[in-house]
């Protein structure tokens, strides 16, 4: 089983190399187009895996945000939705109650610490379930 994303990507590279070799040694156009079709398919899979790897990595890296920078992460035009709670920036892009980066009249891309504490009694549990992406700097 290749559960690891890096392993999957290595495997994909090996497949692509194999198809390239086959194409270079083929004599007939129909053989070449046969392998080219496989190759195109594998390249597409590789791109998808690389994109996923990038996404995972960027989530692991914590960075500093100014409040101005945070404003751009409001979930519009395919951008992620980030919300700051008392200076810590959380990713709510995939939190089900944050459809379109909005949540019961609140918009992502801003500091919502006091509103959060007003509305949620079990605040600790909620924060634990969210991914931290960084912190706010002044």
């Amino acid at each position: 089983m290749k559960n690891n994303l890096e392993d999957l990507i290595c495997f994909e590279y090996r497949k692509i190399n194999y198809f390239k070799e086959q194409i270079s040694t083929c004599d007939y156009p129909c053989q070449i187009s046969f392998y080219q079709e496989f190759l195109a398919n594998e390249v597409e899979i590789l791109n998808m895996l690389l994109e996923r790897l990038n996404r995972n990595n960027s989530r692991n890296i914590r960075r500093d945000f100014t409040l101005e920078e945070l404003k751009t992460y409001d979930g519009s035009a395919g951008r992620p939705s980030y919300v700051a709670i008392n200076g810590v920036v959380y990713d709510v892009s995939m939190t089900a109650s944050w459809g379109g980066g909005t949540h019961f009249g609140f918009k992502s891309g801003q500091e919502l610490g006091s509103d959060f504490l007003n509305c949620h009694k079990n605040s600790g549990d909620i924060l634990k379930s969210l991914t931290i992406v960084g912190k706010i700097i002044k």
Binding site: G100, T102, F104, G105
Partner: protein
């Protein structure tokens, strides 16, 4: 024990179960014939959309509802009498046993004068007064629609008419059937349950669990797109509408399986995000309805 030899003991009865339940329900409703309970349908501060939605009922339809289930004694939209005579029928019913259905919120500002529903003995009768009168003696109170259940559009910011939900106003137990409008099957289904067994099981917001038990997101036909992170980019796309501001994850109804207009379709099935019309924070808390 091999798997091939095991047969579900209930598979035979399962095939007949629906039919048995339907027959039982009809029997229990038919028994009430002759002594049908009276029903008052008050249209308070709202758009009267719920009574229109009720006209669209099917299985059972409105005809069955009126002939076999309840005796509708008062309804602004459906009753034959008009003017003072109509309201007299309302007053006469108060001494009897009846179910009260309220649609629309209760407007309380200026002593309820924002919502006048009748003129009786040369005096204006406000919706607030009528809800209070009928609510005090009703056997069951049903708040149909989001305005009656939670204030809804009538009490949206800045709430110029001082509208309240029926429960906030009357401070008695109210069965809430939110939705904008409420699906006719939620209304008739709840009343059928009351006639057959009494009060249905309610959740902490007073909604019958049989219709409002789990969120739209839980049963959404596009749930697999959400789980895989595949999202619609614009209205009309066929993927998960979450990124466009879908309120399915916070709204509890059975829309995905019950659907609307004779079960033909429902908002998400028509590529439009759920706007959370049955949610208690609708509409202020559900905005924006679409986000790009």
């Amino acid at each position: 024990m091999s798997i091939n030899n095991t047969e579900c003991k209930y598979s035979h009865s399962k095939n007949r179960m629906a039919k048995i339940i339907i027959k039982d329900s009809i029997k229990s409703l038919d028994k009430k014939e002759g002594k049908k309970i009276k029903l008052i349908w008050l249209e308070a501060a709202g758009c009267s959309g719920n009574i229109i939605s009720l006209l669209n009922a099917e299985s059972p339809d409105l005809k069955y509802f009126l002939e076999n289930m309840v005796k509708l004694v008062y309804s602004n939209s459906l009753m034959r009498l008009e003017g003072e005579a109509a309201f007299e029928q309302f007053m006469d019913t108060l001494s009897d046993e009846y179910i009260l259905v309220v649609e629309g919120a209760v407007s309380t500002k200026s002593n309820g004068m924002y919502n006048i529903i009748a003129k009786y003995e040369e005096k204006w009768v406000t919706g607030m007064e009528a809800v209070k009168l009928a609510g005090e003696r009703a056997k069951y109170i049903l708040a149909v629609g989001t305005c009656a259940s939670f204030g809804g559009i009538s009490s949206a910011r800045p709430n110029p008419s001082g509208s309240l939900s029926v429960k906030e106003f009357i401070k008695k137990e109210v069965i809430n059937i939110p939705g904008c409008p409420a699906n006719p099957q939620w209304v008739i289904g709840t009343i059928a349950y009351i006639l057959s067994f009494g009060k249905p099981e309610l959740d902490d917001k007073g909604r019958p669990i049989m219709f409002y038990g789990i969120t739209i997101h839980d049963r959404c036909t596009r749930r697999s797109y959400f789980d895989k992170g595949i999202f619609a980019k614009k209205l009309g796309d066929e993927e998960c509408l979450f990124k466009l501001g879908c309120r399915g994850p916070v709204t509890k109804t059975d829309c995905p399986i019950r659907r609307w207009n004779s079960s033909i379709n429902w908002p998400v099935g028509d590529n439009s995000p759920c706007i959370g019309c049955a949610q208690e924070k609708f509409p202020d808390g559900m905005e924006p309805f679409v986000k790009y």
